[in-house]
């Protein structure tokens, strides 16, 4: 992972959840995955921290630090959605985002 910096669609593979504060989830519209769009992670001040393109299953994954975060979804057609989420080391926060 050290020689790249880009965000793969859906987020990087989860290799070791043990020491990570993971925020992940899926974006769906009327039950169908939203495969074109972006998930943005904002910190508790509302500042941008990271972004990944959604995966084919509408999925996203971030490796955050412990604390409170906001997950914002952007998709074609002016679609926006937001959820507040709390992250902790060794835990996976799972979100289902309906747009």
């Amino acid at each position: 992972m050290t020689d790249g910096c880009g965000a793969p669609a859906g987020g990087a593979a989860l290799t070791d959840a043990g020491n990570q504060a993971v925020i992940q989830g899926r974006v769906a519209q009327a039950g169908a995955p939203v495969a074109t769009g972006y998930a943005r992670l904002l910190n508790s001040d509302g500042e941008f921290v990271a972004e990944v393109p959604l995966g084919a299953d509408g999925g996203f994954r971030f490796f955050a630090a412990p604390g409170s975060w906001t997950l914002r979804v952007l998709a074609p057609g002016g679609i926006r959605a937001e959820q507040v989420v709390s992250a902790a080391i060794g835990q996976i926060a799972n979100l289902e985002v309906a747009v």
Partner: protein, 279 residues
């Protein structure tokens, strides 16, 4: 140089796509992105496979760059419009790289792939066939590329802009939050560096903010526009985005991108490191 010389919008690309002398190039690190769909007539450059030396940590050399552009069917006189994912990070890196090797006419698509997708514009999977050319690359332009000794010498003297996220700047994270946090190097930043995350220069859709907003952003962060500037991040592509803003959009004369960036600096023996939120 003005904004219109270095930046085009999606309407411009749709109006001019297919014209002789114009080459669209998608630049990504995610090798799958281009294959899933790209702007019609766009060729692909892979940030890692095509632009990095496979053995040494460095660019491909002048001959390698010439061979790459020749194979992609790009001529010295062509106008190259670059775009990509990740808010144009890798496209901005390629822009800077094309400039390092002296390509004259290169532009970025404002907003890159993201704005294009959010606008629901056409993406195709058909790969264009372009006849090979005989591209000639110039010697590297060292006036826009910084190496580690210059960076150490610039501490407390020039503008150092750390464009990573605040948590990376402070040493709380060692990588962007879309990547696992596991590395051996030290965390923190170069002393006296100002933290102006690349993302503050971009709107939510990936387009660049206005020149006035950008000047205010860097001015408020303590950047002295009368001094030389070095931008860095983790591996030099987010800082290429900021180099583009400072050098190409704002027209600052002496701006360098330090592509060694934190993966080099944070592994050097004996250099000063600061942790925490303060410069």
């Amino acid at each position: 140089m003005s904004r219109s010389d270095v930046l085009v919008d999606a309407d411009w690309v749709e109006a001019h796509n297919g014209e002789d002398g114009l080459v669209l190039v998608e630049v990504d690190e995610d090798t799958a992105a281009y294959g899933k769909g790209h702007i019609r007539n766009a060729v692909k450059i892979d940030w890692k496979q095509d632009l990095q030396d496979p053995v040494r940590r460095d660019f491909v050399d002048k001959d390698g760059f010439a061979a790459l552009l020749s194979a992609r069917g790009i001529s010295n006189d062509d106008t190259v419009v670059l775009y990509g994912g990740n808010n144009n990070w890798f496209a901005a890196y390629a822009y800077w790289y094309f400039r390092v090797y002296g390509h004259r006419n290169v532009k970025l698509l404002d907003g890159g792939r993201k704005r294009w997708e959010l606008d629901s514009r056409e993406l195709v999977t058909e790969v264009p066939q372009r006849a090979a050319t005989s591209y000639t690359a110039a010697d590297q332009d060292s006036s826009i590329r910084a190496f580690r000794d210059e960076v150490v010498a610039a501490i407390g003297r020039d503008n150092l802009i750390d464009v990573r996220s605040p948590d990376e700047f402070a040493g709380r994270l060692l990588a962007p939050a879309h990547l696992p946090q596991e590395q051996a190097q030290r965390g923190g930043h170069i002393p006296t560096a100002r933290n102006v995350p690349w993302s503050k220069a971009a709107e939510e859709d990936g387009t660049f903010k206005s020149d006035d907003a950008l000047r205010t952003l860097y001015g408020d962060a303590g950047v002295d526009f009368a001094s030389d500037t070095i931008a860095y991040c983790r591996i030099g592509e987010r800082s290429a985005h900021t180099w583009f803003v400072m050098h190409e959009l704002l027209g600052q004369p002496n701006v360098k991108n330090y592509d060694g960036s934190w993966t080099e600096y944070g592994s050097l023996v004996g250099v000063p490191i600061k942790t925490g939120d303060e410069s």
